[in-house]
Each structure stands twice: as C-alpha cells, then as structure tokens.
C-alpha cells in the first residue's frame, strides 16, 4: 500500500449520551504511518472518538474503516487496534513480560514467537532489564513504557494514545514526547494521540485535529495550524495572539478593512460590509515602529516578560484593547513598562474571524 493511501477513515461518526451530543458528524482520514493528534479542551469528545475507533463505544451513526476493512460493527477484540490508556491499565497480577505477552497469548501465538516479540518490544522501550518485575514496583515513566510495549507487541493496525503522557512530570513528559515520536516512526506505526497540551500536539504530530464540542474545527499540519488558524477557536487554543473586535467597513479580494477601537485595520478574510469580526495576529509579527503594508497601533507598555530568547510585551492600546508583541532584542531596544510605543504588523499576517461566542 502506498504511503498516502487512507488507512483509518472515520466517516460522519456521531455519538450522543442522553441529551448531549458528544461527537457531531466527525470525519477524519489518516494515512498509513501518520501521527495525528486530537487536541481540544476537556469534554470535547476526544476520548469518546478514540473509544469509537477502538470499538469500546458504539457510534450512533457513521462508519469506521481500518486498513480497507469496515470495522464499524466489529467487536474490539477483532479490530487489531492498540490502545495506551491514560491510567496505563497494566495488569497488576502479571509481570512486565507477562503484560507484554498478554495480547499474543490470547491470540494463541506460539511460545517462541511470543518470547521473541516480548524481547523486541522490551528493547524498543529500553526495559529489557525489567522483564521479570512486578508492575507495582515500576515508576510512572516505566509503567508508561510497558503500556506502550504491550500495545506495540501485537503489531496493531493503529495505535491510540489517550493522554498517555499526562501523568508524567514535565521533564519526563518532554523527553518521552521526543522519544515516542522517534519510536513510532521507527516501527512505522499509524497513531492517534489525544492531548489537551498544545505543545505536545505541535511536537508530536504530522497533523493536528483541533476539536471543539464534538466537532473537528481544523485538521492541519502543526505549522499551518499555527500560521493559518481556520477559526477563532483554533487561534485561541494554539499559541498566543492579539485579538481586537471591530466592524467591517469595506471588503474585496479576500481582504477587509475593519473599524476598531484602536483605529482602522486591514486583514485577510471574506466578509460583507457591516459584519462584526475579530481581527487577530500572532505576537511575533509585531515590530516597534512603522513598516510597509502594515497595520499600526500605539499604546503604553503594560508589562514586559523576559523569556530568554524573546521578550513578551503587552501594550495597552486604550479603549480596553491590548496588543501582545513578541520582540527579539535584535530589532532594537526592548521597551520598559510605561513607555509609549507604536507597533506595526504585516497585513498579510492579520486575520479576521467572524465574531461568535468565544470558547
């Protein structure tokens, strides 16, 4: 099968629990070998979507296809889907090796085959020396690796991770992100990774699906998601931004002129004159002083936060609006609090979003 062929296809899957719609016509196509992250706030349906793919929850409508097979009505034990649970769900009565061998044993694999697979999985997660340990005698990070090894050992068609790293402390989590990504690429796994940590999503994935209230708002590569957010929700959820409310004065050619409390701004977007919009830009687009083809606004510096290679400057632009600029020392002096400054940012990096209920 070619690299680009669809491997996991979720077609219009919906799920309700009582009156709440938890999944609202989800469409998702994942290529073989791809690592896709589901990113979204608590309760948006990430776990439920994973469970629908694993067969642990039955969708009300829609279809799930895996490796060219319709598995919508296939029970979990026949789906060949690997799951790493947030709590790891390791079997306490078995050793490390026993946990990893479990899936192969119930499939009736031969003894020699099982031993070889366990050894391979253990060395992949670098736990060869702990094969005989009891689960209760492992650290959190080691348990995480055992859970991963157990899921990989059966060579599933797709691996599902439900906040698999969230129980680890920050440093270990960051190490595991890098290691896990490399490991998944090594074994050419197709994987879905659930998280509500945006850094984790950007670090780990080939593509990120931003979920909100049971829908996928945007499915894009991390870079594109950051630079070209498709909705206000996606913009807010990933990274920092300046957001200013206004009304469209004139529109055309994919651009709009917006009247705001800090002056007239130009932005990319298609709206009719008179529409209420939010104009937004990423902090690193801002410069002190003027530049060509740019929006500008002035104000008084409210706070300056030094973050090593960059400095975050918040400017009070009056009328309750504020600007967030990320300045690197190279472009000139970093202002101090109470300075009056003028900031500019390119029109091509300014976006207009329909004003809706903010999430």
């Amino acid at each position: 099968m070619s690299e680009a062929a669809p491997h996991l296809v979720v077609r219009s899957v919906s799920k309700r629990y009582g009156p709440t719609t938890v999944l609202d016509h989800i469409d998702l196509t994942i290529r073989r070998g791809e690592l896709v992250t589901l990113l979204g706030p608590s309760g948006c349906g990430k776990t439920t979507l994973l469970r629908a793919i694993a067969g642990l929850a039955q969708p009300d409508t829609g279809k799930v296809e895996l490796a060219g097979r319709d598995i919508t009505h296939v029970p979990p034990h026949k789906r060949n889907v690997g799951v790493v649970f947030q709590s790891y769900a390791l079997f306490p009565h078995l050793t490390v090796a026993g946990n990893i061998a479990f899936g192969l044993k119930v499939r009736g694999a031969a003894r020699r085959e099982i031993d070889a697979a366990v050894e391979r999985a253990l060395s992949l997660v670098k736990l060869g020396h702990l094969a005989g340990r009891r689960i209760s005698a492992l650290s959190g990070g080691q348990q995480q690796r055992v859970a991963l090894a157990r899921a990989i050992a059966v060579e599933p068609d797709v691996l599902l991770f439900d906040e698999a790293l969230s129980a680890l402390d920050r440093k270990l989590r960051e190490e595991m992100q890098v290691e896990l990504r490399r490991l998944l690429q090594d074994v050419k796994a197709t994987a879905i990774f659930v998280t509500h940590d945006q850094d984790e999503a950007l670090t780990m994935s080939d593509r990120v699906a931003v979920m909100n209230k049971g829908r996928i708002e945007q499915l894009a590569e991390p870079r594109e998601l950051y630079l070209r957010p498709a909705s206000l929700f996606a913009l807010n959820f990933v990274g920092l931004s300046t957001r200013i409310a206004g009304t469209v004065l004139a529109a055309g050619n994919g651009k709009v002129e917006v009247e705001t409390k800090v002056g007239r701004l130009s932005a990319l977007g298609n709206f009719q004159a008179g529409s209420p919009v939010i104009v937004a830009a990423r902090p690193e687009q801002f410069r002190i002083g003027e530049q060509s083809e740019a929006n500008t606004a002035a104000g008084r510096v409210r706070s300056v936060v030094f973050q090593g290679s960059r400095t975050l400057v918040e400017v009070d632009a009056g009328a309750g609006e504020s600007l967030l600029a990320e300045l690197s020392g190279r472009d000139g002096a970093i202002p101090v609090v109470h300075d009056e400054i003028r900031l500019s940012w390119p029109v091509t990096e300014t976006f207009a979003f329909p004003m809706e209920m903010q999430a």
């Binding site: 067969g55 979990p76 034990h77 789906r79 690997g82 799951v83 709590s87 769900a89 009565h93 479990f102």
Partner: protein, 265 residues
C-alpha cells in the same frame, strides 16, 4: 510521660492478646490430658483422645454435613455475591447503596434472631427439608461476607483493565476471566475463607433448622459436651483450631493478613 503511656499501651496489648489466646492454649493442653478429667498440673501426655474422635457417635455424618454445607454455600455465595457486588460497584443501579446495605445486613443481626426468623419463614412457605433449609440459611450467613469483601475489592478494581484486555484480543467474558478474576484473587480468597468459617462454625442459626438425622458439627459437639465431657472434645477443638491456623497462615503467605483485617491494601 510519653514513655509511661507507651509502656501502659504495650502491657495492655500483651495482656489482651494473652486473654484472647489463653482459652485456646488451655483446650490444646487439655486435649493431651492422660486422664478423663482435665487437671492442672499435667501429669504426662497422651494422644488417645485424638484416636477417639472418629468413634464419637454420629461424628462422621456431622463432619460431612458441615463440610458440604460450608463448601456449597461458600461456592454459591462467591459467584452470586461477586455478581451482585459488580452490579453495585459498576452498574448505574438506582439505590445501589441501599442494596449494598441490605446485602450485608445479616452480619449485623444476632444469629438467634436470624435463626428464628428463617425457621418461621421456611415453615410459612412449607419449605422444611432439613438439608436444603440449612443450605439456604447458610447462604444468608455467608453471602454478606462475600458481598462486603467483593464490594471493597471491586471499588479498587480499575475496569479499564477489562477494556485493555479487549483491545488486546480478549472477548468480554475472556477478559473477566483472565484479568478481573486474577486481579481480585486476594479478595476471592479472603471472602472464601471468612465465608467458609462463618458457615462451618455456625450454631445459633443451624440449631433451629437441624433435626435428629441432620446435625451440623457444632450442634453435635454441644451434644457431646452435655453427654460425656471428656478430653475427646478438646482434641477435636484443637484439630479444628489447627486447621484454621494453617488456613490463615497459608493465606497470609499468599495475600497478607492485614488485607483480611481490612486495615490497608
């Protein structure tokens, strides 16, 4: 001051332990008495009373009956009590708490009251076969032990384990057998032992339901003591005691006694 308090506590603990164990030591000593009337100080040791146990009138049928009832009621309680505990711990059963309290309530009731109530109840519905009534009554005795232990065990059981097993290729029933049963093995063992012992040494309930030909061991033993109080009974008691100690010792090796006492996990 603190030192004195600790010493008082220690004396208290040792004193209480002696107070609890002393009668057992006396009966063990009495079972080796060379004379029919137990007297201190001992003037030698004899094991002849142990040889007499088997020749006691009606001993074997009673032992068999007690073992049958205890094993059967324990087995039935383990299965039904566990299923009930799952419903309580897992299901969205309305009023699960009330249900749980009802299940363990016989534990809080005096055996005598329970015995009379069961006798009257069985009579009222015309259920009088002694063996069967004994079994049903002992289910009432053993079920609370199993339910209580299993509810506690299941509260600590992570049901995601079953889902993990299913995604690894196990059917649902297979997952229960391969994952839930072994993970709950300590609870099963504890529940089984307590249930067996509760049934095996029950007197107050059995006495109301036994008849001349259907007498459990405790009833038979009380009868012996009334008829001929010689050290044979002490020998039998010592055997039962040793059996219990061995059972507890082995299960302590397996799961730890502190878990049985329910003081920690």
């Amino acid at each position: 001051m603190a030192r004195a308090a600790i010493i008082v506590c220690w004396v208290m603990a040792i004193g209480l332990a002696l107070f609890l164990i002393a009668p057992l030591l006396v009966i063990a000593a009495a079972s080796f008495s060379p004379t029919p009337v137990f007297d201190l100080p001992l003037t030698g040791a004899s094991t002849r009373w142990y040889g007499r146990i088997g020749r006691l009138d009606g001993f074997w049928p009673s032992l068999l009956l007690s073992l049958q009832i205890a094993l059967l009621s324990t087995a039935i309680s383990l299965v039904s009590g566990t299923l009930a505990a799952i419903a309580i711990a897992r299901g969205k059963l309305p009023g699960a708490n009330i249900f749980a309290t009802a299940l363990v309530s016989p534990l809080m009731m005096p055996g005598l009251v329970l015995g009379i109530a069961l006798l009257q109840g069985f009579r009222a519905v015309g259920f009088t076969a002694p063996w069967a009534t004994l079994l049903v009554a002992h289910l009432v005795i053993t079920l609370p032990y199993v339910a209580r232990t299993m509810i506690a065990g299941l509260a600590r059981f992570d049901f995601t384990l079953i889902e993990a097993a299913r995604t690894l290729g196990c059917t649902y029933p297979g997952s229960v057998l391969r994952v839930m049963v072994p993970a709950l093995a300590p609870s099963f063992l504890i529940a089984g032992i307590f249930s067996f012992l509760a049934s095996f040494d029950n007197y107050p309930v059995s006495i109301f339901l036994a008849d001349v030909r259907t007498k459990t061991l405790p009833i038979r033993m009380l009868q012996y003591i009334e008829e001929a109080p010689d050290p044979t009974l002490a020998a039998l008691s010592t055997l039962i005691l040793s059996g219990t100690v061995i059972l507890l010792f082995v299960s302590d090796r397996v799961v730890g006694l502190h878990r049985m006492a329910g003081t920690s996990d």
